[in-house]
């Protein structure tokens, strides 16, 4: 529980220029493989203070006493001169609201995640026609409470919970093997079918005998592949200075609208600024950027509510919180597929997406299925598409309506996407 004494002490030492953050989190994890079973229970506490005393200082501790020990040590370090940004003043903790005292019985507050190893094993086997096996499944259910206070009088408290996991499958054909991981987060009911399909395809398609048999065509991106590309592109929305190719005006084709809106996840960001919907690319034109308090102050504007704290150990930085393609004007994925005369459906990545926003370059390596006359024809073990980001964005001709979210690590949502006139290697 944050107490008034600590706030008074911070105000005395750093008048008008401090922010205090505290997080408590509890989680239960179940990892099951063919031969092993692991259970983990974790209760983590973290405190962080950010203050401006000449330059920015940041101190963290795993409890209040360690935080108190870290503050003078951080204060002794030299820093670059920078004024404190204007802090948000809106949030107020509801009457009587404080981070609750820990439950008396350990491991009682968060229920254990379900054991879904057996049903997922069966689904992976079915979808891969026996060529892939589920090697391990880790599920984690967690709950976190965050509290933010600052010298402008804002008091914010947020509670969140989630169920996420990692599954690993092995595909085998003759002497060849392939491993595939799938990271997922379930906001509602467990989507075993979706995870099993991705694992089965990702572990078996690379075992195909050959790559693409044609060098140019349409490129259909599975939602998981499109989401990974969007996540790799995210620095473009937060950079202090825009690269030259972005300054030319429209950076994507008209069907592309990209939004960040974490309203459903949390009412405030990691600095206590209210969450709001920000349209980043509208009908192909870059119309907005994501800011936290510091980047907004540098740009002479206001925070957009995108001060992100990946952990209490890191100071907030500008970043996406729930980034997605808008799909209001989309078509069904079946219609997209039917319209492809010749191309490749990229089902899974075989290497991390490479994006160099400054140099306007990207490279995507994937496995998938060749398409001909609107139908799947044969598996493609591996293919590569590379070139200019600006060209790729300009050649997105349609987006589908089947948007799905993936934790990369924040939620990134994408539908099936069609890109025309792509060169395959």
């Amino acid at each position: 529980m944050i107490d008034a004494d600590l706030e008074r002490e911070l105000e005395r030492r750093f008048p008008g220029a401090w922010e205090l953050y505290r997080k408590t989190a509890e989680s239960r994890e179940l990892e099951v493989s063919g031969t092993n079973r692991g259970e983990a229970w974790r209760r983590e506490e973290g405190w962080a203070v950010r203050w401006w005393d000449g330059g920015l200082r940041f101190a963290t501790g795993s409890d209040r006493q360690r935080l108190a020990a870290a503050i003078p040590l951080a204060g002794k370090l030299p820093g670059r001169a920078e004024p404190a940004p204007p802090f948000p003043t809106s949030g107020l903790i509801p009457e009587g609201g404080q981070i609750p005292v820990q439950p008396a019985e350990p491991a009682a507050a968060v229920t254990a995640p379900p054991d879904l190893f057996a049903p997922l094993t069966q689904l992976v086997s079915e979808k891969s026609r026996g060529e892939a096996v589920l090697a391990s499944l880790t599920l984690r259910r967690g709950r976190a409470v965050e509290e933010i206070r600052n010298s402008a009088g804002s008091r914010v408290r947020m509670e969140s919970s989630q169920l996420d996991g990692i599954a690993r499958a092995l595909g085998r054909r003759g002497p060849r093997t392939c491993e595939r991981r799938s990271v997922f987060r379930w906001d509602a009911e467990p989507d075993l079918q979706g995870v099993a399909g991705r694992l089965a395809d990702g572990a078996t398609l690379p075992l195909a005998s050959r790559g693409p048999t044609f060098s140019r065509g349409a490129w259909l991106l599975d939602p998981a592949v499109a989401a990974s590309f969007l996540a790799a592109l995210a620095p473009l929305f937060c950079a202090d200075a825009l690269p030259l190719w972005v300054k030319r005006g429209e950076i994507a084709s008209r069907p592309v609208t990209i939004v960040d809106d974490a309203s459903a996840d949390a009412p405030w960001d990691g600095e206590g600024t209210p969450t709001r919907r920000v349209v980043l690319i509208k009908d192909g034109a870059l119309v907005s950027r994501l800011h936290d308090l510091r980047s907004a102050a540098r740009a002479g504007g206001f925070s957009t509510g995108h001060g992100v704290r990946p952990s209490y150990r890191n100071p907030p930085r500008p970043g996406p919180r729930r980034l997605f393609f808008e799909t209001a004007g989309g078509v069904s994925p079946r219609e997209l597929l039917a319209g492809v005369a010749r191309g490749i459906f990229a089902r899974a990545l075989t290497a991390p997406v490479f994006v160099d926003v400054d140099a306007d370059r990207y490279e995507v390596e994937f496995t998938g299925v060749a398409l001909s006359g609107g139908r799947a024809s044969e598996p493609v073990a591996g293919a590569r598409v590379s070139g200019r980001i600006s060209e790729l964005l300009a050649r997105i001709t349609q987006v589908a309506t089947d948007r799905q979210f993936f934790p990369i690590p924040y939620p990134v949502g994408a539908p099936t996407i069609l890109v025309e006139r792509v060169n395959f290697e």
Partner: protein, 438 residues
């Protein structure tokens, strides 16, 4: 980290029913200082002081772990209570106690900041670098054996700087990781000076197959990926799994994993299960010679002392530490001549391996083309790719004589768990690796 070890051992006793069962308490305090440097001026600064404890039980293939933030007897009691509740055993009564800051500040931080200001201003005045200093103290109380304590101080400098090339300025990446020692500052000076040396402007190169001379200790990164990871017990089936004692490479090649090398970033006096580590030969005269094990995966000789945790919230896993390649007899000139035509690579930025298929990939920021045994064009960034067994069998039977430490290799992530690693190696030639331009 003051607590009564005998009392903790008594708490752990009910978790051990038979031979092979493991029960232990692991406690860690960690102080981390980070300063962002920009053009020889310190920028954002942060200090973190953390403590955490976990209690663990392993029986057969079933493992339980309970973690709480904090230190001392009260925190350990909470972790043990959670483990008891999970194992459906009688739960100790709760006795919360206020946390105590038990970390004495070290005097070296401010001295390092002053030194860095001078070193950076002289050798790389235009830069964006992050300096990290970590002091990690760990204590393990295993049931049935003696408790152990270890402390490591780790120094890292990571980022990029602007260097002069023959045709203008260019941004180069820089990574330096070392355990804190008297010689660290001098080593850093030398590493920065070497990284800032003038170069020709790189030219693009095509994709294809090439012979590679791994210079500047980069062979340590290669063997870290394809040998150390592949021989970690518990990795499942890898191309090396069923090849114990089989000859897979030239008889001149000897590679070991040596955590006892405390002068390297991945060294330690005790592993995270309290076991005193020993150097393990991975490849002896070209033959597969051993696995890296923790207590749960030990053979008859016991754990090799490679049970490592990213932190107290994670269970220990068998992980590599320092990949050390033994010296041969060839000079650098002989190695270049032996390469003939190919690529000379003295920096590797990152590496990955998919253990089930054995496919690996190494990213390099620059290379030099070698033609007829002589240096030719400066090349830009690219990838090397290959598979474990074909690569091991393609090692040239001539090894360099000068062994160097690979200070750019510092942290290794497996399944999200990050541990310090390093290595040293002489020059090694590998034939017919796949090369791709970036």
């Amino acid at each position: 980290m003051e607590f009564d070890e005998a009392l903790v051992a008594r708490w752990l006793e009910p978790f051990v029913a038979g031979r092979g069962d493991i029960a232990e308490v692991f406690a860690e305090t960690r102080r981390k200082t980070i300063v962002e440097w920009r053009d020889a001026e310190p920028g954002d600064a942060r200090v973190s002081i953390e403590a955490g404890v976990s209690a663990r039980q392993r029986r057969g293939g079933r493992e339980r772990i309970a973690f709480v933030s904090g230190s001392g007897e009260a925190a350990i009691r909470e972790a043990v209570r959670a483990l008891q509740a999970s194992a459906k055993k009688t739960v100790l009564p709760s006795r919360p106690a206020p946390a105590r800051a038990d970390f004495e500040p070290g005097p070296s931080i401010e001295r390092w900041v002053r030194r860095l200001e001078t070193i950076l201003a002289r050798h790389a005045p235009r830069h964006r670098l992050r300096w990290t200093h970590e002091e990690i103290s760990r204590r393990v109380v295993p049931f049935g054996s003696a408790a152990s304590t270890s402390t490591r101080r780790l120094f890292s400098l990571d980022g990029s700087f602007t260097a002069a090339s023959r045709r203008g300025d260019e941004i180069r990446s820089f990574s330096f990781h070392a355990p804190e020692a008297d010689a660290t500052a001098d080593e850093l000076r030398q590493a920065l000076a070497a990284a800032a040396a003038a170069r020709e402007r790189p030219i693009p190169f095509g994709d294809g197959i090439a012979d590679i001379l791994f210079s500047g200790a980069t062979a340590a990164v290669l063997f870290h990926e394809i040998l150390s990871h592949a021989l970690e017990a518990e990795t499942g089936e890898t191309p090396l799994s069923r090849l114990a004692a089989a000859r897979v490479s030239v008889s001149d090649l000897e590679v070991r994993d040596d955590p006892t090398r405390l002068d390297l970033f991945g060294g330690y006096e005790r592993d995270d299960e309290g076991t005193r580590p020993r150097a393990v030969k991975l490849l002896d005269a070209g033959r597969i010679a051993g696995n890296l094990t923790d207590r749960a995966h030990a053979d008859g000789r016991g754990s090799t002392g490679h049970g490592r945790r990213a932190g107290p919230a994670d269970p220990p896993l068998p992980r590599g530490s320092n990949t050390v390649v033994a010296a041969g007899a060839a000079t650098s000139e002989e190695m270049i001549r032996r390469l003939g035509n190919g690529l000379w690579i003295d920096e590797i930025g990152s590496g990955t391996v998919e253990l089930s298929s054995g496919r690996f990939r190494l990213a390099f920021p620059r290379a030099r083309r070698v033609r007829r045994g002589r240096f030719a064009d400066e090349l830009g960034a690219g990838f090397l790719a290959g598979e474990i067994l074909p690569t091991l069998s393609a090692v040239e039977p001539v090894i360099g004589r000068d062994v160097r430490v690979c200070r750019s290799l510092g942290w290794c992530s497996r399944g999200g768990a990050v541990v310090p690693v390093q290595g040293e190696a002489p020059e090694v030639i590998v034939r017919r690796l796949s090369v791709r331009d970036r």
